[in-house]
């Protein structure tokens, strides 16, 4: 067993890294799962998986995309296990009202509800781009899509949200 002080230091750094990235991971999981409690479980399980596989992270600066990929896969596994067949989005919105409400800006709550109603194929690239700062090429790599397919999804996602928020989009940008 080789567990010298170098290994301990590395593990301590890894733990600190996971802790500092946890809010981002939780936010990402929340928008994928649309369920706060489930998102917490997914992130917890993902961090345990990451902990066990930490030796495969060779470059610490790549920790965030590495962890996001683990969270994404864990989300998919969770939904496979749960075998969720139908989802009533209005029920999800009502259940997560405390998370979606925005006391400071009333229409943010409405926009968050619209995000909940966005199909996952649009929601996921949008969250990666806007919240996680991914480029189109990075999203394409993560989701195994072509660049043009990512652009189309991002464009449609925004159009749907703007339409849901009552903005006029038909004349200025057709899908």
């Amino acid at each position: 067993m080789n567990d010298g002080s170098g290994g301990n230091q590395r593990r301590t750094r890894f733990q600190a890294l996971c802790q500092s990235l946890r809010p981002d991971l939780l936010r990402f999981a929340f928008w994928l799962c649309r369920d706060r409690a489930l998102a917490e479980d997914v992130v917890q399980e993902s961090l345990l998986r990451a902990w066990k596989a930490q030796d495969s992270l060779l470059d610490e600066s790549a920790a965030k995309p590495w962890l996001l990929t683990i969270v994404r896969r864990e989300c998919a596994r969770t939904f496979e296990r749960k075998r969720v067949v139908t989802v009533d989005v209005d029920e999800l919105v009502a259940k997560e009202e405390p998370m979606l409400a925005a006391a400071e800006e009333q229409d943010l709550g409405e926009l968050r509800a619209a995000l909940f109603k966005l199909p996952v194929e649009y929601r996921e690239p949008l969250v990666l781009q806007v919240l996680m700062g991914y480029s189109t090429a990075e999203i394409a790599r993560e989701l195994d899509l072509s660049g043009p397919a990512v652009l189309t999804r991002l464009f449609r996602a925004r159009n749907r949200l703007r339409a849901a928020m009552g903005e006029e989009i038909s004349a200025e940008a057709e899908e």
Binding site: T12, Q15, R27, R36, E40, L115, V130, F155, A173, E174
Partner: protein, 225 residues
């Protein structure tokens, strides 16, 4: 590039700094206005996605997470102790923590936040920004230590620089910090709190520019009250 192509591409990535998009935008007033509308929506979208995950937890953490957390605790306590003895360090820590919450703000772009939107955000803190500050590519009113504060990203030749105007945080002297990949400075603004100016993962040359940029930003702030 025609209008339809421009609107598709900018609709997919409103903060894109693609030179072809910029060229079209600069030659087409309609598409300029279209982009401004998109950017206004984009700011709302960014705020909407940034849900507060520190809010109530729904269930206690399991033993496995607690075991992991316990082993982290000692390190955190030691780090917090060291941090606490440094003057102004806890304010710097909170600023850095806030930066980590908004990674999307750091994108390198030449697309400016529309003036009306920027002015609305700055007005809440009774200030405006002179043109000398540079291109403001991101502006948001953020909750910080119980107050709404302007969080701006200014594009400079040394890369994107974040500015937080902290009118409620008075500091007695200028402090510098280097933490978790962020190099920053907190500059006193007598009678108006302080400003925090940060760079993310700067190279040595960029880091040397920090104080000059901070001074430039400080000089471009005009207090309206």
């Amino acid at each position: 590039m025609d209008h339809a192509r421009y609107r598709m591409l900018i609709g997919a990535d409103p903060r894109s700094s693609d030179p072809e998009l910029r060229e079209h935008r600069e030659s087409c007033r309609e598409c300029q206005l279209y982009t401004e509308r998109l950017l206004r929506f984009e700011s709302r979208l960014e705020r909407a996605l940034r849900v507060d995950v520190r809010a109530q937890t729904h269930r206690p953490a399991s033993w496995r997470w607690m075991a992991m957390a316990a082993s982290v605790l000692l390190g955190v306590v030691v780090a917090a102790g060291i941090w606490a003895v440094l003057p102004g360090a806890s304010l710097a820590a909170d600023v850095v923590a806030h930066m980590r919450e908004e990674p999307q703000a750091w994108r390198r772009t030449d697309v400016a936040v529309p003036d009306a939107e920027l002015n609305d955000i700055l007005r809440e803190s009774n200030l405006r920004l002179g043109a000398a500050a540079g291109i403001v590519s991101y502006a948001s009113s953020c909750a910080f230590r119980g107050h709404q504060v302007p969080h701006l990203v200014v594009q400079t030749p040394s890369g994107p620089v974040t500015v937080m105007v902290l009118v409620h945080e008075s500091v007695s002297r200028l402090t510098q910090f280097d933490e978790q990949g962020y190099r920053g400075t907190i500059v006193p603004m007598p009678g108006h709190g302080s400003i925090a100016v940060l760079m993310q993962n700067p190279g040595a040359a960029q880091a040397r520019d920090l104080q000059r940029i901070a001074a430039q930003v400080r000089a471009s702030i005009v207090w309206t009250r």
